[in-house]
């Protein structure tokens, strides 16, 4: 049995006021490309247009089910999909990229995903994150790479009270411990 990075934290995370839960083993592919035609072709293959605006993500569904495409840089994106789809997605994206300059790399093992939900999500994250998380500054669809309690994370704002964190597997337990501590004052 493969054990996910936060398997040992499942119960403790679920008991937090932010209802944290891990979404382990998601398929993740780092895409580097700057050719607009190639980016459009890759979006068409996934059924999700690639984000054109910095610090946002797009979501949709197509041949590979629900897919999110995250803006990581002006020519860099992260494609996130359900587990065990990395090989077919990689092949499809490579085909769509064609001869344009770029790369598609399977980075699924790099990060695990933590979903946070509840009215205190933005308050808890503000304890360790300098990015303005007020709904007016970070509406749903925001995707920022930043430091959360000195840990590099990708932070997706998926709704008014829901945030998804992508964190490197090796420091996921540290982040879980920090989250538990930051949540103390919101316990009822």
């Amino acid at each position: 049995m493969t054990v996910s990075p936060l398997f040992a934290w499942t119960d403790r995370l679920a008991a937090l006021p932010v209802n944290a839960s891990e979404r382990p083993f998601l398929s993740q592919l780092t895409v580097r490309a700057s050719d607009p035609a190639a980016i459009a072709a890759m979006g068409a293959v996934l059924g999700v247009g690639f984000p054109a605006v910095p610090c946002t993500f797009t979501a949709g569904s197509g041949e590979f089910g629900d897919v999110e495409v995250l803006w990581l840089g002006p020519d860099e994106f992260l494609v996130v999909a359900a587990p065990d789809l990395q090989i077919p997605i990689e092949e499809a994206l490579r085909g769509a990229l064609g001869s344009a300059r770029g790369s598609v790399v399977d980075t699924s093992a790099q990060r695990t995903t933590v979903v946070l939900e509840g009215p205190h999500v933005r308050d808890v994250l503000a304890h360790g994150c300098s990015v303005d998380l007020h709904p007016s500054a970070a509406p749903a669809g925001t995707c920022v790479q930043t430091l959360l309690a000195r840990t590099g994370v990708i932070l997706l704002v998926t709704g008014a009270d829901s945030v998804t964190l992508l964190v490197r597997s090796s420091v996921a337990e540290y982040l879980a411990a920090w989250l538990s501590d930051a949540c103390v004052e919101y316990q009822t």
């Binding site: 910095p54 610090c55 840089g73 002006p74 860099e76 300098s130 920022v144 790479q145 930043t146 000195r150």
Partner: protein
């Protein structure tokens, strides 16, 4: 903590950035033709002005792009930021 405006991501805290020294130091056209003194000048010698200074910064914890910034070395004010490859904006000191 000081906020540094990344040209891609907007204002972020200083801890997300790495400093890259003076900007616009051109690589020599023909390095092998340089004397030791000229090579040392290129490798080691940098401006140290009191006032506006064009520097390279990397948003290492964010989008990981290099960009340039004009910083006033007396006040730490970032007068301008601009993407790599763009010309240095006119700065009034």
């Amino acid at each position: 903590m000081q906020l540094i405006p990344c040209p891609w991501c907007g204002p972020r805290e200083e801890a997300e950035f790495h400093y890259g020294g003076q900007a616009h130091v051109a690589y020599p056209e023909d390095p092998s033709a340089l004397s030791d003194e000229e090579w040392a000048q290129y490798v080691f010698f940098r401006e140290n002005p009191s006032g506006p200074f064009a520097e390279r910064w990397s948003h290492s914890a964010g989008c990981r792009r290099w960009f340039n910034a004009v910083r006033d070395t007396r006040t730490h004010d970032l007068i301008a930021v601009y993407r790599a490859g763009e010309p240095m904006p006119e700065v009034i000191s």
